[in-house]
Amino acid sequence: MSKYDREQILRTSGVNVLKCMRCGKCSATCPSYDEMEYHPHQFVYMVEKGEIEPLLQSKSLYKCLSCFACVERCPRGVEPAKLVEAVRLQVIRQQGMNHLKPDDIPALLDDDLPQQAIVTALRKYSK
């Protein structure tokens, strides 16, 4: 399963993990660093080594803000956010694995919350 997951994640992300030179700039610039159990550079390293299972189980998947800071600042063009997204897709594409459900939404609303926040969260957390 893990080998299949790794191949699928690499295909979905289009990321070449072998380009990484382990400088850590992606994690240094990540606005969610403090909230993450596994940081962007660890996603790259762990996918390379095939250590997929801990990533699939990690809440870190839902802490990425899709701000593209790591994509922009990686000196090797590895683009770690695409890997985080691909691992998350691997989880939420499975039946019953949505992280956020439409029924959860009403309780999360307030009068000013822009529609943009709702559609973005659903796109990121649900399939």
């Binding site: 979905t12 800071a69 922009e72 822009p114 943009q116 926040a117 973005t120």
Partner: protein
């Protein structure tokens, strides 16, 4: 001059001001924004998965609609702009994605990323010109110290967005100068506000928005401007800063300067 215009879901609801002042100001500058007759929500975020096809089709349909009208497509919401621009780039440069998306579209001529997508700020810089905008200003916002907040979506990824230098931009600062005000230089102008994570983890949004607001206040800004409804929401509702500066859509200040704000 006529342009196709994609307002997006939020500009029809919580961010109606962003839209209204943009349309009025454009008319005052001799530009007519023609809203696409049928458009669907872009989804708010670009799916980075290369094998995500269906979630990008709303963007492709909007891009194709502008192509049929032979017009450039103007966006305003930072998120819509980011999504449409990235989808357009994939249609032009990712043959596998382009083929699969076109299979859904069933067009006589496949769409290959021909439409030029420009943000409203680029319309002001590249079509109107900031010099001409300056001449059109009736009520210059003299002496106002304004912090331009780019956030994450307007500039990144830089090689696709191509609006400005992603690490040292100037388009919003030049806009601020054109309307007669004074831009403040500050570090956090292209850092994230916490974004959509606010929906299930408010603490992230509080932390990130507070850092942004504190930095703007430290640099003596009187207000912040943005093109993003979610940035405006997070900064106004979730920053825990001692000094909570007003946050406005840049189009509101534009309308004020042009004398078209009712």
């Amino acid at each position: 001059m006529n342009f196709s215009y994609y307002p997006g879901c939020t500009l029809k609801n919580k961010a109606q001001d962003l839209d209204r002042w943009a349309r009025l100001s454009a008319e005052a500058l001799g530009i007519h924004l023609e809203e696409l007759e049928t458009w669907q929500c872009c989804g708010g975020a670009y799916s980075m998965g290369k094998d995500e096809i269906a979630s990008k089709l709303a963007s492709v349909r909007a891009l194709q609609a502008a192509k049929e009208k032979g017009q450039d497509l103007v966006t305003l919401c930072s998120a819509c702009h980011n999504v449409l621009k990235q989808a357009n780039d994939a249609m032009a440069n990712d043959p596998d994605f382009s083929l699969r998306a076109n299979n859904y579209m069933a067009l006589d001529t496949p769409y290959k990323g021909e439409t030029k997508v420009i943000h409203y700020l680029e319309l002001l810089r590249d079509v109107v010109g900031f010099d001409n905008l300056k001449k059109a200003v009736k009520n210059p916002l003299k002496g106002k110290k304004i912090a331009a907040y780019y956030g994450c979506l307007l500039l990144r990824p830089g090689k696709v967005m191509q609006m400005d230098n992603p690490e040292n931009p100037r388009i919003m600062e030049d806009f601020i100068r054109a309307i007669g005000a004074e831009p403040v230089l500050w570090a956090n102008r292209n850092e994230c506000c916490g974004g959509y994570a606010v929906l299930e983890d408010k603490a992230i949004a509080v932390k990130k928005s507070t850092a942004v607001m504190d930095n703007a206040a430290d640099q003596q800004a009187e207000m912040l401007i943005t093109a993003c409804p979610l940035c405006l929401y997070n900064l106004t509702k979730n920053s825990a800063s001692e000094t909570r500066l007003p946050v406005k859509y840049f189009t509101e200040l534009l309308a004020e300067a042009l004398g078209v704000k009712e």
